[in-house]
């Protein structure tokens, strides 16, 4: 079975730091940054990119759709 590898891109200025993306990620890919964006929110980012499989769970629950998801098939 071909494996998949995924990655997310967070629009850090759109992210409002609500952290709803974190519990729905099965592999703990996401953490909140120590820095803040222009609005003062800590934004989400891919702190553990190696385990992301592009499942899109985080993107679907993000109310502001700050997350875009990418996925490729990788031969095993």
């Amino acid at each position: 079975m071909a494996k998949v590898k995924g990655a997310i891109v967070v629009d850090t200025e759109t992210c409002k730091g609500c952290e709803l993306c974190i519990p729905v990620c099965q592999d703990q890919v996401i953490s909140m940054s120590k820095e803040v964006n222009r609005k003062g929110y800590h934004y989400a980012y891919m702190s553990n990119p190696d385990v992301c499989n592009g499942c899109t769970n985080c993107a679907i629950v993000c109310p502001d759709r700050a997350i875009s998801v990418y996925r490729v098939k990788v031969s095993a």
Binding site: A7, K16, C62, V69, Y70, V72
Partner: protein, 257 residues
Amino acid sequence: MEVLDIIKPENQVFCKSKLMTDNTLSYCPGCGHGTAHNLAMEVIDELGIVEDTIGVAPVGCSVFAYEFMNIDMTQAAHGRAPAVATAISRTWPEKYVFTYQGDGDLAAIGTAETIHACNRGENIVIIFVNNGIYGMTGGQMAPTTLPGMKTSTSPYGREIESMGSPLKITELVANLPGTYYVTRQSVHTHKHARKTKKAIKTAFENTRLKKGVSFIEIVSNCNSGWKMNPNESNKWMEEHMFPYYPLGDIKVKGELK
């Protein structure tokens, strides 16, 4: 494989619906409205019906829905969206008309309009976002506020004796012959959001088949009004709101479940 190899346009599998505008959502961080908006726009885009869709946005947190949904929209007075939608649907019978209402709008001031549009079986979709509070005006008690829940107008908790019980309007309208599809969903996890998207799609397909009212209640959080952080509010919602407002289909294809 490097991350940069993955993040290429041809590999993109998810992004914001192109039927959402570029405006920053005015909703609080973590509020379910944003997800609900996006799901609705994704459905309208995927069904290819934007040219024939008209939305009605009454007063509530989502009064500004027309700033975010890139479709034709009419703003309506508080509670009156079903009446506004009735007229649009009857004078343009081929259009997909939907309302996007909060709990104060639909179940307090708009109770008559809600019940009668459902009773007449207007060919519309009603999206009802129930967070048990009046968000826009600062967190007052709503008809769907739970017993004991503290709000700015029930500061010691909702007392059934003086304030009445929470109104299960969805069950009420399910018992009217004019409603074809009545369901209660949520958007706080990916699983629930995907189910809600299916429900919205079913609703618009019902409109195409001219089946009457499709009524989708989305139980949602209001972390600002409830004074919690977003994840806490979703947990609280699961523990307290869902027992009172259980998720699932209540009426499908005109039959009560």
